[in-house]
């Protein structure tokens, strides 16, 4: 088990290094010049060249990449002389536009994205899984048909459309809630909750619809398994047949998908955050794209890869915990 874990962690490190190299290559081949950004407006060509030298931008790509990777673990000092900026561990680059290390920028925003993702996930799991289970158990009845038709409709709605409708109904027409803005949980838990309800709902609607459909199919499939028939043949009450012998295996793929989706969302729900002006990682990403703030874009790309790769590992470990067949001797 330990050996397996070590192998997986090593593979994860290699994957991240490759992603890092690819992103690095793409960004540093782009026309936008970090030196020009560092130098600011009205900068002469000579000065830009000087900055390029000081930042090491004239070094070969491999050298620059090496410096970047080492910087992640050891921190690095960018530039020299009076313009030198110190970027401490873990240094994912430095945003000259914001005059802040990328790591600090991301960590400022991460709690917002995490609140959004986790809250939405709780909501879509509650709604999606229960609707899916209900539809499967009432297969072919009006309950099933209602769930299926509704979920097809909802999963077809784009996120921004749902957000618009919600904002219009909740804020403009009824005034039930104020226009959402992010309040830290520690600051005012009630305000935090009230302001996240709409973003949560927006994000959860699409996922809930997908999860309901997946859960329904998984439950129907599992209840047709021979081991469920065996449970009935043992004379167990139907409640236990479904609850213990049917639902556990049926929900295993749901757990897998949840891990993946959550991993992807932790690094920011780009559209939802932008729509509700939530200062999350997704919003940071969108803003950085607009400003062509390369170090930030790259940092977030790596952060997202890290979440996705590690959630993969977590999913596999959880899977082994649920299903003894997936355990390693």
């Amino acid at each position: 088990m330990i050996g397996y874990l070590l192998r997986r962690l090593l593979a994860m490190a290699v994957t991240l290094l490759v992603i890092c190299a690819l992103t690095f290559a793409i960004f540093y081949l782009l026309p936008s010049d970090p030196a020009a950004q560092f130098c600011g407006k009205d900068c002469s060509a000579e000065r830009i060249e000087l900055v390029r030298q000081q930042l090491g931008l004239n070094d070969p790509l491999v050298v620059q990449f090496g410096r970047y990777v080492v910087g992640i673990f050891a921190g690095q000092t960018l530039g020299s002389g009076p313009y030198a900026v110190r970027c401490d561990f873990p240094c994912f680059g430095y945003s000259f536009q914001s005059a802040q290390p990328v790591w600090d920028l991301m960590m400022d925003r991460l709690p917002t994205s995490a609140s959004l993702a986790v809250g939405a996930a709780v909501l879509w799991l509650l709604l999606g899984v229960s609707a899916g289970v209900l539809a499967a158990l009432r297969r072919g009845t009006w309950v099933d048909r209602t769930v299926m038709v509704t979920t097809i409709g909802l999963s077809a709605l784009p996120v921004y459309f749902i957000a618009m409708i919600l904002l219009y109904l909740v804020v403009t027409v009824t005034g039930l809630l104020p226009y959402p803005r992010y309040i830290a949980f520690g600051e005012d838990p009630g305000g935090w909750l009230a302001n996240l309800i709409m973003p949560w709902t927006t994000l959860a609607v699409m996922y809930a619809a997908l999860y309901a459909r997946m859960t329904r199919n998984s439950v129907i499939e599992t209840l047709a398994e021979p081991y469920v028939r065996t449970a009935r043949a043992k004379g167990l009450p139907e409640r236990r047949v479904v609850g213990k012998h049917g639902l556990r295996p049926a929900l295993t793929p749901v757990a897998t998908m949840l891990g993946m989706d959550l991993g992807g969302l932790l690094a920011g729900a780009l559209i939802t955050e932008s729509l509700f002006s939530l200062p999350g990682v997704g919003k940071l990403f969108a803003d950085s794209l607009n400003k062509a703030d390369q170090p930030v874009i790259m940092g977030i790309t790596l952060l997202a890869s890290f979440f996705i790769v590690s959630s993969n590992l977590v999913v596999d470990l959880v899977y082994a915990w649920i299903d003894p067949r997936a355990r390693l001797a």
Partner: protein
């Protein structure tokens, strides 16, 4: 007293294409300490029959009567039937790898049934599980009870399945192709085990199989099913000595025999089993029947044939059988 008496059992399903009549008017009885073999191809209705007896065929219309130890099961409240399932009528399924739950240990799966029916403590149920695993010849039962089905070999898994069926000391065991997934030596061991348990405990057994070799080994009485109905019914020795229905003869001819000599070819039954959605008129077997192919007797395509007595406890549904009791 008769342990299980099935009278005029019918099972129908509604499908998108129409009504599937999986079983039509089947009768049989099982006595304590005796084994009824039900033989037939896939789709002959043999497995559906067993599930109908257990009340496990969901979404099917079931007609006729199933009396177990004096209690009518068809139309009985679910709770009544559930309390008999596992407790007094137990099932052994074909493929123990899929029939046992992959997430729970063998011991837990056996203990669960025992606790349900006997209200036993966790510890007592655990002990019971280890005991029955030992009874069916699993070495180191205490250790193996803590293992999962995928950690067992095929033969051991089928033994565990039998242990599960035995755990509540049932009166009747319905075994649906219990040895089909096993290789021949293991198959023999599992059948011997069932026979030994039957002798020890006076179990009634319904053995469902497509394998006449299994029937010859274990059955006291045989019901040959074709297209959802009984084709022939007789004590086992009589059936093998004097098979009357062309389908039964076809089944016997398609078995390899060591004493037949090199020149004898195996004869397969031509064609495939009938559609249960639109069964052929008259005798369901006539499109594949060598006798009909030769004689083209209009009786074969007339009314659906019923079983007729053709000898002592020997019944045949072939209309062409010259009754010579």
């Amino acid at each position: 007293m008769t342990l299980l008496q099935v009278t005029d059992l019918s099972v129908e399903f509604d499908t998108a294409e129409g009504v599937v009549r999986a079983v039509r008017g089947v009768d049989f009885t099982v006595e304590r300490g005796r084994t009824l073999g039900i033989v037939g191809e896939s789709g002959s209705g043999k497995s559906v029959t067993s599930l109908a007896v257990m009340g496990l065929h969901r979404g099917a219309r079931i007609g006729g009567s199933v009396r177990f130890d004096g209690t009518e099961l068809i139309g009985a409240p679910e709770e009544t039937v559930r309390r008999l399932r596992g407790r007094r009528i137990a099932m052994v399924f074909q493929d123990a790898l899929t029939a046992l739950h992959p997430y729970f240990t063998i011991g837990d799966q056996i203990a669960e049934a025992y606790r349900e029916h006997h209200g036993a403590s966790r510890k007592a149920a655990r002990k019971r599980a280890v005991d029955v695993l030992g009874d069916v010849g699993i070495p180191e039962p205490a250790r193996r009870a803590g293992e999962y089905p995928h950690e067992f070999s095929g033969g051991m898994r089928q033994r565990a399945m039998i242990a599960l069926a035995l755990s509540c000391e049932p009166d009747l065991i319905i075994a649906d192709e219990p040895t089909t997934a096993l290789d021949v030596t293991v198959q023999a061991q599992v059948l011997d085990l069932l026979m030994r348990l039957q002798q020890d405990r006076g179990l009634g057994i319904v053995m469902i199989t497509h394998d006449l070799g299994v029937i010859a080994r274990v059955a006291d009485d045989v019901l040959v099913m074709y297209g959802g109905s009984a084709a022939e019914q007789a004590p086992a020795d009589r059936l093998f000595a004097d098979p009357r229905h062309p389908y039964t003869r076809g089944l016997l001819d398609s078995l390899p025999r060591l004493d037949a000599g090199d020149a004898t070819e195996l004869r397969a039954i031509p064609g495939s089993p009938p559609s249960l959605l639109a069964p052929p008129a008259g005798c369901a077997f006539h499109p594949r029947c060598p006798v009909y192919a030769r004689e083209r007797n209009p009786l074969c395509t007339g009314d659906r044939p019923a079983l007729r007595q053709v000898g002592d406890a020997h019944h045949n549904a072939c209309v062409l059988d010259e009754v010579t009791p």
